[in-house]
Amino acid sequence: MPEKVLMKGNEAIAEAAILAGCRHYFGYPITPQTEVAAYMSKRMPKIGGTFLQAESEIAAINMVYGVASTGKRAMTSSSSPGIALKCEGISYLAGADLPALIVNVQRGGPGLGGIQPSQSDYFLATRGPGHGDFHVLVLAPASVQEMADLTFKAFELADKYRMPAMLLADGTMGQMMEPVVLPAPAEHFIEKPWAVTGTECKRPHNIANSLFLLPEVLERMNFERFERYARVEEEEPMWESFLMEDAEICLVSFGITARVSRNAIVQARKEGLKAGMIRPKTLWPFPKKPLLEAAGKVKSFISVELSMGQMREDVELAVRCQKPVYLCNRTGGMIPTPEEVLQSIRKANEEGG
């Protein structure tokens, strides 16, 4: 049996990345994700890897771009304002079809905002964080175990689909400790014949590039990329259902609010309210299928989130507005109590569908 260890969420991300074969980390200090950098600065020198505290978030993501171009697994981590700065580089990664991991331990915004947990980068993450037509994979852990597992998975998916992945966590997930079983070290890596490693004068030169001045060529690139995205949407959505068999009210929530919602649902059941939850583990691709299926059975949905209803729009789209989608939210670093979520469930029950 693999050993259970107690780790902070941020540390679990870092160790899982190392186990996934990532040997290059570039970061810049920002609360509440600094433990990722601190952990990497201790571990990387001991395993022949790179830890580099970059001059800026912009430089950090471009260092990741450099390593990704060479075909190796690389990552950076930051929190909301820093992620905004990385968007330029993320767009270039997407445009050059380069895999990489960007960790976003979200805090409240806009602007400098606060440092307490938030999910208000939902749009930023799921709509393509940067200019142009593109997506990144968005994975949303709801436990320290998932901080490790989804980090590991993110590297695999990024390589498989040649696209950047974002781990969308929040301050609570980053700071909390829970028992975790770390993944076994990655052994199999996808071949990357496109990598920029030096031609050794044996092949035509490889170019990592997102510039296509001919409109018809750029259009074709975008169409092809979106065909790949369609495959991702078909094959990769991940979610967890909780007490959905007989549910009449379906909560939709990820990260810390999914944990709070779980408490509320257990309490609601004690009151005879048939609540359940679909918890997206991937936010892009969004688990549309289970939500649409649920729309045929439940009376209403409640989107429980730490933003002004950013995810609610995706829930409405997924259920094609067949049923009402209520919103239970806090922002700015506030987190709803289980009682507040329970109130929303009671209210949804009264209003029906």
Binding site: G66, C201, H205, N206
Partner: protein, 245 residues
């Protein structure tokens, strides 16, 4: 007997540069250095945003296209990933001295073992001739139509002098390519910068004063003279750091 050949490290793709532009010469010097040192197979070049944005098509080695100003950060990532390879960036003045100045200074301060070819023509060429951080006082550009006024637009940035205040750089030299003698010197400097990288000496940057007849509004010949008359007084040629010497 062939007396003049295209360097192996250049592809056959015709370059898009304007007539009289010295980018072609500088590309050639870089390629010759790569050929001379026999490092084409392990060299990775990074192209900027600017006139040389499509340099990735012209160099036969593996290439990466960077976002505007970020080439040194990308070079850092590449070099950390592949320390045995040779990594160079090829950047213009807007790219290196304005939007990418933070990356330039920080990469130099870390002493990354890479080579930067910095092409300074005192203007933003690709976008049609706007004022650059290296534009001269009084220089008329699209965005300094009355001449660069230091009261509102400040003074030119002297990159070699600025980087020479740092401890880490191994080699900093300013050269130009406006006549045969200067081209020979530039060739030597560029080759030496690559050699230093091979020897693991650390960061090197060669600033090449270059002409932009199109956006300067001059004949190619006049533009080359303008380098002598106007640019060199502001940007004196010479070695600013040489850890060998």
């Amino acid at each position: 007997m062939v007396v003049f050949e295209k360097p192996k490290s250049l592809t056959d793709i015709p370059m898009h540069y304007c007539p009289g532009c010295t980018h072609g010469i500088i590309h050639r010097l870089v390629a010759e250095a790569i050929d001379t040192l026999g490092i084409e197979g392990k060299t990775i070049g990074i192209a900027p945003v600017g006139c040389s944005v499509m340099a990735y098509d012209y160099f036969a080695c593996d290439m990466i296209e960077a976002a505007h100003g970020r080439a040194p950060a990308i070079a850092t990532g590449v070099k950390r990933s592949l320390p045995e390879n040779i990594v160079f960036t090829y950047q213009g003045d807007g790219d290196l001295a304005s939007i990418g100045l933070c990356e330039t200074v920080s990469t130099a301060a870390r002493g990354e073992n890479i080579t930067i070819i910095f092409v300074n023509n005192a203007i933003y060429g690709m976008t049609g001739g706007q004022m650059a951080p290296t534009s001269l006082i009084g220089q008329v550009t699209q965005t300094s139509p009355y001449g660069r006024d230091p009261k509102t637009a400040g003074y030119p940035i002297q990159i070699c002098e600025l980087l020479a205040t740092l401890e880490a750089p191994a080699y900093l030299e300013r050269v130009t390519v406006n006549n045969v003698k200067n081209i020979r010197n530039a060739k030597k400097a560029i080759e030496k910068a690559f050699r230093y990288q091979l020897e693991g000496k650390g960061f090197s940057l060669i600033e090449v004063l270059s002409s932009c007849p199109t956006n300067w509004g001059m004949t190619p010949q006049k533009a080359l003279e303008w380098i002598d008359e106007k640019m060199i007084p502001q940007y004196p040629l010479g070695v600013f750091r040489d850890k060998e010497a």
